[in-house]
Amino acid sequence: MEAIITLTQVSKQPPTARLPIVNNLSFDLLPGEILVLLGPSGSGKTTTLRLIAGLEVPDHGEISIHGIPAFKNGRQSPPEARRVGMVFQDYALFPHMTVSDNIRFALHAYPKPTQQARIDEVLRLVGLNDLGNRLPHQLSGGQQQRVAIARALAPAPPVVLLDEPFSNLDSAIRDHVRSELRTILRNANTSAIIVTHDQHEALAIADRIALLHEGVLHQIGTPEALFTQPTTRFAAAFMGQADFLAVHAVGTHLQSELGALQFVTAPPMPNNAPASILLRYDDVRFVPAPDGNAVICQRTYEGPLYHYRIQLPSGQQISCKGSHDSAYALGSKGHITYNTPHPLVYFAGEQAVGSVIPHTSHA
């Protein structure tokens, strides 16, 4: 499949900044795909979106849209020529125009008589059939967002860019709006790049996630790949609750204070080489025992489950989930055992090296 948008080694550093905001960034957007640019604030994700839209100019690299260079050798095509729809964080609806006129503004390439039909069509698509005559300030936040989406989709661009589309919505309606947006984009047969700093949002809506940190692309892949196969410690920590348990290599095993783990993919490391394994809180289990050497030092009730912080003999703390039926008291002693059917990722320094599985005899 030919990519709709291709970024090749794109960099951007404002004159006043000490470090590049976007650093040597390359990725593709495939037809029909929803790509999420995920990262903490200051990671360069919004700048990347603005570079694609043509609202900012890169210093280096190439951007091509629909196979046509949009930025190459310092020459830049203007935003109005890029056929890219954009939904701004605060929606940027024109406050002096009705909903219909806001959408009509995007339809200048359509012959006049067909404009109204297209306006009605996109308003139906976002479920706002009867609100064409309202002014933006007469709409709720969720409705404004849908108008912004309708306006971006109106000229049928092959791709829309959405900057933090859910950040101005109440958490109560977010989940609903999120799945609705997915449906709208699918029905319009449009690819999308969505910027967000919320990893739950990214996991829920993305076909692929591109994880950015300090302007650098850490990892790009499916949500499952990012969550279960992070390539850096940053990616592992950012995608969800994570602990890194110190281990060292012993022959064909990694030795941890919770027991030995066997290499599955990467070649064995030299003896005694230090490493760490990624533990999510459902990868281990707490078994209460009066003679246990692990102690519960913190307990958080999260509704469906309890989230415990547990201190190991070495002093390191890890998280562990527990059933909401029975709560262990603070100070309870017990054993920690591996509780995972899937391999665990291990890191040497910042980089993921391979994966290991717990020795069955310890399970």
């Binding site: 609202l55 701004f88 406050p95 995007a106 300030h137």
Partner: protein, 545 residues
Amino acid sequence: MHSWQTLIGTLRRPPSLIWMVGVCVAIIALIPAIYTVVRAFEAIGNTPLPPSKMLQSLIINTVLLASGTALLSGIIGISQALLIERTTLFGRSVWRIIAALPLAIPPYVLGICVLALFRPRGIIEKWLHTTLDMPYDTLPFHGIFGVWGSAVVLALSISPYVYLPVAAVLRQGSNHLSEMAQLSGTKWHTQLRHVTLPIIAPAAGGGMLLCMLYALADFGVPALLRLPTFSTAIYGQFTGQINRGGAALLSLPLILVTLALIISEERLAGRGGVQINRSWRPYVPHVLGPWHWLAQWGLTTVSVAAVGLPIGTLLFWASQAPSANTIAWGTLIQTGLGNLLFVTIVATITTGLAIAPALLLRRGGMIGVILTRCSQAGYALPGVVVALSVVLVVNRGISTLAGSLIPLVLAYIIRFLPQAVQSLDAAFMQIAPAIEEAGQSLGRSAASVLQRIMLPLAAPGIRAGWALLFLSMIKELPATLLLRPAGFDTLAVRIWMPASDGHFAEAAYPALLLIVAALLPLTLMLSTHHHPSTSKHEEAAWKQS
């Protein structure tokens, strides 16, 4: 490649027509200023310098007048704003209007009234002498003129330049800091010192610098009260001895000081802006209690002096006016209407021209900023100097224009363009950048976005800016006096001519007409001030509801 984009702006750069207009405007605005400086340096060798004794007193007078006016305006304007916006004062909505009214009364009109009332053997002395039989030499009024008299007159007239921005900050600013201070149990005066004053400091400082600029440039008041300053001395060199080199020379220090003030004003304006946020709520006013009457008395005194006194005096003269045949009503009305038409046209042209620099300032990259700064050269030039420089250029270069209205129009445009650019820039600033970007990302050209989005959204601010221009232009005096072609009169000239000969009563009718004419744009300005209809404000409003 990167540097080119820094120079002329990114892809959101304005259409090429805007660039062309911007370049023309910058050239028109810059040539007179440059030429004045050149003439001044030419004159250094050839023209005898003014005696140093005179120069010394010019410097002292000008500095004292400018700083005294700024200080007094600051005290008046800040007190008015605090009392009106932050206390339970009775009649606050009426005071809001009254405090802005001095803008409709030119300082020289107040000066004429003060002069007629308080001068030796003036109205008050005569009244005391005839009705109370007091001998003239026991009367105490001789000392009220000079620097302090001029400063008081100017400060009473232009204190709205401090009051309006400070009141706006107090009205719009978030209340959280004050609430925080209250919660931590501080007294009101501690709050005032540590919370409120720091918040209004940039606005008040900016306003006071504007007052200082105004006092530096003002010609009417010091001329009336016989206070030699740089402005009056330049005028004198110009008209009396036809010594243009000398006039240019005297302009030089004035230009330099003004430039320095403008730079500090810009620094101030950049700081401490107050943004409206979603959680904005009205301030809970401070209860004045027994101090209420003192506050009322203070506000009343200031407003009586600034507004009541001149209007009362003018009405008194008007009622005393000799029989109708001595007043040429026909020519007066004609002058008035002609003046309104002239000012309307020139204010509209200036607003139109200012769109280009205002947009270039926003989007034009470094060259855009430089062009805009050039077009604001007139800011550094007091009215007298603008008139002088236009005369110098017209006489040297395009002498066929002498004797027409063109030099006067040029002088008005050069003098007031900076004001227009500032208003428009402020109007465009109210539009969130994303709105403009949204326009372009929807595939519209920059020109189309300007026409369909930017101008309609900025319209309230543009209207207010136009009204301010109208107000300033209709009060303009020195450039008009120096550049008007034979047979062209404005109301300001009709006030000035008889008054400068001591026939004060004859100034009454044109002055009253001028005040009425100035009230219209003032109303327009203030109503925009109170009902901001920009996206941000509307958003704040509906989020609250």
